[in-house]
């Protein structure tokens, strides 16, 4: 008798309140119907085994799925997850790095800062990954339960029934034209690296002296004050580069418009680079003196080499980059 009570309790506790009394009553009468007149515990067990797991029975009554996300939504769920996860991870990573640099007071060794950022970065990516996974899964689990439409056809990305017209919305992307995620994250990484060097030039760029055991930073190459005069335009360029990387991530292939945008960005960066490099106060006196003695050249010669060389390399790089964009956008 007791087993029967427990069994019924196990079934109805999984059911909505208003269904419970009726189902409990019916279930009890059914179980008693199935038992012989003078039954033993063995008989009860036999009957309950026939009825099967209380969880399965209850889910049958509830008429609700025993899964979080069914075949109807699984495909859309998975594509969204694959799309959102890397974007969220990169954005939060960049935010974290930026915050760290803003809060940096210059007291700690740069290597220590870099190591702690890598550590924090891994932490942030894991945390954001879990958050995105949780909220997306929770949202879809709720949608699955609210959708009373009994249609079992899997949904397409446009949230409708699939027709051949859906194919028109998907761009055919030849391999050579495609922008890989690796390329996008690479360019974001590059932005982060040069921005770091820009804002911390007085701690990173310059002459290092090693005595075999440790590397000491002795002479900074640039005057940080002069360099920082240009910060508003540099921040705008950082913003443009990040926006362009995200645009590439979303478009997935080179287009003519993208190639033009890339060229404009390259021109702006080159002009700013030249303007900064032409500033006569940019390099520190100590550094110029160190270099002129080391290579036995005059101050003017050294200036010419650095400015001339820097500008030519930058312009060549920009032209190659812009040309490459147009070449890729022309591929059919």
């Amino acid at each position: 008798m007791k087993l029967i009570d427990i069994y019924i309790q196990e079934v109805i506790r999984r059911l909505p309140e208003k269904m419970r009394t009726d189902i409990a009553l019916e279930l009890r009468s059914t179980i008693e119907d199935m038992l012989p007149s003078n039954y033993m515990e063995e008989d009860v067990k036999h009957v309950l085994n026939q009825l099967g797991s209380p969880a399965v029975l209850a889910s049958g009554y509830k008429d609700q799925p025993m899964h979080l996300i069914g075949p109807r939504y699984f495909d859309v769920y998975l594509s969204l997850l694959k799309m959102i996860l890397p974007i969220a991870a990169v954005i939060s990573l960049i935010t974290m790095i930026a915050q760290n640099f803003i809060g940096y007071n210059g007291d700690e060794a740069i290597l220590y800062v870099v190591l702690s950022i890598i550590g924090k970065g891994i932490g942030v990516i894991i945390e954001v990954g879990i958050q995105v996974f949780f909220w997306l899964t929770a949202t879809f689990a709720i949608i699955e339960r609210l959708d009373k439409d009994k249609e079992q056809q899997p949904l397409t990305a446009s949230l409708g029934k699939w027709t051949a017209d859906d194919l028109k919305n998907i761009a055919y992307i030849p391999k050579k034209k495609a922008i890989s995620k690796f390329e996008v994250f690479g360019s974001l990484m590059w932005t982060a690296i040069w921005a770091t060097f820009y804002f911390y030039a007085d701690k990173l760029l310059g002459v290092y002296k090693g005595d075999g055991e440790r590397l000491d930073f002795v002479i900074p190459a640039l005057n940080q004050d002069v360099l920082l005069q240009y910060w508003p335009i540099i921040v705008i360029i950082i913003g443009l580069e990040i926006a362009f990387a995200i645009y590439k991530l979303l478009k997935e292939q080179w287009t003519k418009r993208m190639a033009i945008g890339n060229t404009v960005l390259q021109i702006i960066t080159t002009i700013v680079f030249i303007v900064i490099l032409k500033n006569p106060n940019l390099m520190s006196e100590a550094f110029i003196e160190y270099m002129t003695t080391a290579f036995t050249i005059t101050k003017e010669q050294f200036n010419m080499w650095v400015v001339g060389g820097g500008i030519s390399i930058f312009i060549i790089g920009a032209i190659v980059n812009a040309y490459d964009g147009f070449k890729k956008s022309k591929i059919r």
Partner: protein, 115 residues
């Protein structure tokens, strides 16, 4: 191999379950009497499927239910509604069609083998 056969057989039978249950509800039945009726005609049905199924077709208004408390233990009786009767006759027709079609297909196979 036999496991696969089992699951395929279950799948094959699953669709016919509603029809089998509806066909026995022209007269009022309670849960266990229905099980016995079905088993008598050789149809074994998972009981954890049957009871929820009864609830579902009640919700779909194919059957109506009533509690009978006159006997020693209360029993819930289910019987076809008018709508249920209508649906049942149409499902019967569908079943005849399906079994004719399949018979043709399967017999066609046999003839091929003979030739």
């Amino acid at each position: 191999m036999s496991k696969l056969l089992d699951s395929l057989t279950t799948e094959l039978r699953r669709g016919t379950l509603t029809l089998a249950v509806l066909s026995q509800l022209r007269t009022p039945q309670y849960g266990y009497s229905l099980v016995q009726l079905l088993e008598k005609s050789g149809i074994s049905i998972d009981q954890s499927t049957l009871y929820p199924l009864l609830r579902r077709i009640e919700k779909q208004e194919l059957v109506s239910s009533s509690w009978d408390t006159s006997e020693s233990r209360p029993r819930k009786y289910y019987v076809l509604s008018e709508y249920g009767l209508e649906i049942l006759s149409q499902l019967e027709k569908e079943w005849m069609n399906i079994s004719n079609e399949l018979n043709t297909l399967l017999r066609g196979d046999d003839e091929d083998e003979v030739n």
